[in-house]
Amino acid sequence: MSQVSTAEMSGLGHLGDAPIEAALDRYLAQAAHLEASDPNEVALAAALIETALQRHRLGEPDPNPLDVLVADLALSRASRLLAHGADLPLQVAFARAIEELAAAGAERRPIGDVGARLLGVIREGR
């Protein structure tokens, strides 16, 4: 993992490193050409959001309580990374993506491929 991601992983050990690393590599490749935002921070934020929403098991009952809280921490950390390193349209696009996925989960609709949705946010945010 990159230096920025190592520093940002404290307290998130419960999520497991491997899934975040795999997601991070995909997002880094997509974010490399962002002009108005920091690619490292955006990619890590996206990886944290993806992992958090998976841990929350949107639409499924009885997620593990500690998982819920650690995933909340991952989401909040992603929010801080985006507040620091992403331009306004990208911040808004990430938030809207989470809103759509969460609404689908609340309605028990299939939430689809979270990773693909977030990659789309980065791609359109160039």
Binding site: G11, L53, H56, R57, L58, G59, E60, P61, D62, P63, P65, L66, V68, L69, V70, D72, L73, L75, S76, R77, S79, R80, L82, A83, H84, L88, Q91, V92, A95, R96, I98, E99, L101, A102, A103, G105, A106, E107, R108
Partner: protein, 480 residues
Amino acid sequence: MISSRRLRFGTESPTEFLDITGHIQGQVDSAGLRQGRVFLQSMHTTLGLLVNENEPLLLGDLQSMLDRLVPTSIAYRHDDFPARAGIGPDEPANGHAHCRQALLQPSVTALVENGRLVLGRWQSIFAVELDGPRAREIAVQLDGEFAPEAEASRDGPTWIDSDLRLLDLELRRQLEVDPEAVGSPMRGLVQAGGKRLRPRLVLLCSRLAGQPDRLKSVLLAAAIELIHNATLVHDDYVDESPFRHGVPTVAAREGSARAVAVGDYYFAKATRIIAELGNRTVTQIVAEALEAICRAQIDDLTLRGSYPGDRDSYLGVVGGKTASLLAASCAAGASLAGAAPELVTRMARYGELLGIAFQMADDVIDFSRESGKPMGQDVRQRTLSLPLIYATDDPVVGPRMRALLDGPLPESDVQEVVALVQDCGALERVQDEARSLAEAAVAELDGLAHLNGSSPDPTLWPDLHSRLESIARGAAARTY
């Protein structure tokens, strides 16, 4: 002069005696009534009023009397639904509750002299729930002579009243446009009550400097209230709490899947609203507070293994869970108004001190007979609580406290823990600490007028100072 209000609260049990004396005195205080009368009227046919002694065994006797005179085990014609016309699908079988209410009173009048309720030494005013748990409402009218400053404030709404009304409209607007699956549960939570302390701080601090943008301030205040409620939705799921503000929690009513999704939705929506304000500093302030809240929630859950913990752990958790968003509300409001960094930092410090004092007062209320809430809820739910920590450290009662808290805590043990905490001086110690923190918060305000080049707007500062000072001292002194 007459001032009309509503007292809203939630109940948690089928039958419950809620001591509302403190709430009614609070209404007298806030209205500024000096001499006169307070009229109370239950707005329900299964909620009675009563003036009697708040003594737990007597309350048990009263409960037994109701059980004996109007037992639940016999048939009531009111519960014969096929024989009744025009009843809804959710009609409760509560004939006994209506009959019990006939033994109580639907209204009570209390006299007020020199700003204090005129009550005998052993008299308390109770709202008696007979068909709980429910959201309840009591109409309150205050009639008589009011303090001059209270008369002035009733002549017309102040700017903060007007901003708070805008806030309510904005919250309603935001929740109306959301998908029903998330909007409906959040509307239930937001409308159930809450003190709106965080948005109030945003609105006040956004007047500290420059030219405040009223609409942006209201949007920021609404977003912070949504963040607060989103964290509560997840917190209630993790804590398995059945009620919040007297109504079932989102998790209890709608299930865990819906609760997690609702929390995520409003976390995202609130951060989007804030991002759309276009002020990166404000966005960062709130994002950092969110992270602090989440870290503290994990710590809180982890620390339950070593319940009741120690003072340092307590301050760490409270600093994150409660104080960080209050500090961010102040700092973000000030920053939105273009306040200088030093002023923003001071306001964050004010909010942090206020937040810790607020939580300490909350802990004390859990052991208070006058709060109107069931005592010992923190003990039953093993919630971090400073009076419990101090009582456990006490050389006299500490060993017994530890033995009780290490066990399964049946109701008799909870009552013993409450009594030990009440008797060992822990509550007074925590109250003193809360008051000291509130004074330290006020001291932060006192220094602001002398900041070199970054002082608050001098035309608004006296009014803002007075309101912020009142919030800090009120948070530490509150009894409900």
